[in-house]
Symmetry: C2
Subunit: 349 residues, 2 copies
DNA sequence: GTCAAATGTACCAGCGCTGTCAATAGAAAA
DNA sequence: TTTTCTATTGACAGCGCTGGTACATTTGAC
């Protein structure tokens, strides 16, 4: 059942396409057509063959398929090793696994240190692993030379939250709008002096989130005060440093919006060091809804970035683009505000 | 260089073993021997062939290798989807990637919901992906039926922190000793009423960490008080619930040791809700040193579980066991205490 | 009933590599 | 010098699947 007895009588040998063909009384080529979704197979025959496949418990051998069809059935997630937050990557890979589920494709991780010669080093990577497609996240997703090299090598890819127009397939969410939403939440609580610890320059996320911050202030008729924005780099330490600068002002802000959760944790740390209570003395918001935002006390108000949906869609569309090279897609998936206890009405000033 | 021009004159065709053989003036088989580290190739020839490989920038095609050698060059990490902490898994996979680096092997993740029929479902997984080896973490690493099934299927595996003797290759660290260390740290600060929120029953980690706690108390001549130990399940919520019970006692503990970081965060949350200051009113310790332990305020005293080293070793040894099926290894890698600000001298009682 | 399109079969090469086994060379033994 | 032996090396047949060509059969349109 579902396997041939091996000649030695020991161990199982999985069924081959030939066995399925024999079982269904057709040629191997026809089975192959069914397997690969080729259209010209009559519905009745198709069902019969599918039944045989199930009966024999047949699963095509990926290596054989790959060799014959010059494919690897591998989709690699390229991320920047030290920079990328591990929970972010983990969420992405889970979404990718979900998208690969039921397909012959396999998702693999590939950390890649961002550096000048990345576009060159990619050649070695491609030669070694021959992925059928790539999924890129920032900062790689914003590396124009890298994308160009991939185009030259004729490797399909999709990007996540890229700021480059060059990328034919990009998935993200409306970060600007989400940042504005979170500021509006603070405004609605009564905050007027709202500071921002921004992200690393070069990331789209830095600009979008900053712009959303400005949008909301403008809409509320509050003048933009450049001195209330300090530059961070998405790390905990930079968040703490940013908060230190902001809270040392003569008139410190009543709320700080950090461009990601790690930096928000840094802000919380600095407040803790100064004996400021959150949210009573200072409201804090993050961005991304990484696991830490629920583990920290008080819980962090943040925006849930729909990582799994994004990476799942990124994989689905890049697979589609293998069939249809002309395909192009810029998708924005819905996000969600997560209101937790780190934000509240400001104390009387 | 390093590729043939494609017949169409468009795109690159990577070098094949045949090209290397021609370049070095030997047969393809001899090149293959060099590639696979077969001993019977004369040193001078070997160097010449290696030079040709570099000159042509040759990288073997994994699909062809896999097909011919009946291998997939895939090593899967099997983990339990909802239970496993994502940062733990992420650390493990990073270690696995490191071990695979420079080998033809690829590490893939495979979430697998723990359930009664897991040992049966594994067959389908193996048929589909044909991994050459598996790395199992708890709870799968403690699933005797599963390991037995893998033995029957003749699939190599290594386990991480398994409590089963059945596993031929297991990597972990001395959790009992580490837990004792952390309790000794609390004792040295002057704590005497130390509580413990234990892990999920069935995990080795639950027993080892609890035993370490008891070891240290016994050594200090403190009688074991069962009522100071509450049962958790490694989740944040169970940590908070455990702390709630402990802190509601007439004489609450001055320190709480949670069996992992997530639960320690739950303890911190409960303290926060009650307005207890950490570490002044309550010292808290975690276990594992997940990223959150640095992000939370105050920083969490914990034990650094050397995840990357563990998973790296797990992969290296399971690969070795493919060559040498008789191989067996029970390794305990060194761990490290991380003293942070969540522990301090107890306030006067 | 005729013709074209749709559908299916048969067959074979070949993807790039490794396993098997035979062949060869060089060294040791006679 | 010849023989024997072992260490090296090579020839060849696939691994299981897909792509292509060539042809057979069915279907539906006219």
């Amino acid at each position: 059942m579902g396997h041939r007895e091996s000649p030695t009588g020991w161990g199982y040998m999985p069924a081959r396409i030939e066995d399925v063909a024999a079982h269904a009384g057709v040629s191997t080529k026809t089975v192959s057509r069914v397997l690969n979704g080729h259209p010209s197979v009559r519905a009745t025959l198709r069902t019969r063959i599918e039944a045989s496949i199930r009966a024999l418990n047949y699963v095509p051998n990926p290596a054989a398929r790959g060799l014959a069809g010059n494919r690897s059935y591998l989709i690699a997630l390229l991320y920047d090793n030290p920079t990328a937050s591990s929970s972010y990557i983990m969420e992405l890979i889970v979404g990718m696994l979900q998208a690969c589920n039921g397909t012959p494709y396999n998702a693999v991780l590939h950390p890649f240190h961002a550096a000048d010669d990345l576009a060159a080093r990619i050649d070695g990577f491609v030669a070694t692993h021959r992925p059928d497609a790539l999924v890129l996240v920032p900062p790689h997703a914003n590396n124009a030379k890298l994308l160009q090299r991939l185009d030259e090598l004729d490797i399909r890819y999709s990007t996540i939250s890229s700021k480059l127009r060059q990328s034919r397939i990009d998935i993200g969410f409306d970060e600007r709008r989400a940042a504005a939403d979170i500021i509006e939440h603070l405004l609605s609580l009564g905050h007027r002096r709202i500071a921002h610890v921004s992200g690393l320059k070069g990331h789209g996320a830095q600009v979008w989130r900053l712009n959303g911050y400005r949008d909301a202030l403008r809409k509320a008729g509050i003048e933009y005060d450049e001195s209330l924005v300090v530059e961070g780099d998405f790390t905990f330490a930079s968040g703490a440093a940013g908060a230190k600068a902001l809270l040392s002002r003569r008139r410190p802000p009543t709320a700080i919006f950090a461009a990601n959760d790690d930096m928000a944790c840094g802000v919380v740390r600095e407040a803790y060091e100064r004996g400021l209570a959150i949210p009573d003395d200072l409201s804090v918001c993050g961005f991304d809804d990484t696991p830490v935002s629920q583990l920290i006390s008080p819980g962090l108000t943040t925006v849930r970035q729909p990582c799994r949906e994004i990476s799942c869609l990124a994989v689905e569309s890049v697979l589609q683009s293998i069939r249809d090279p002309a395909m192009s897609l810029k998708a924005r998936v819905p996000y969600q505000m997560q209101l937790r206890a780190s934000t509240a009405k400001p104390a009387k000033p």
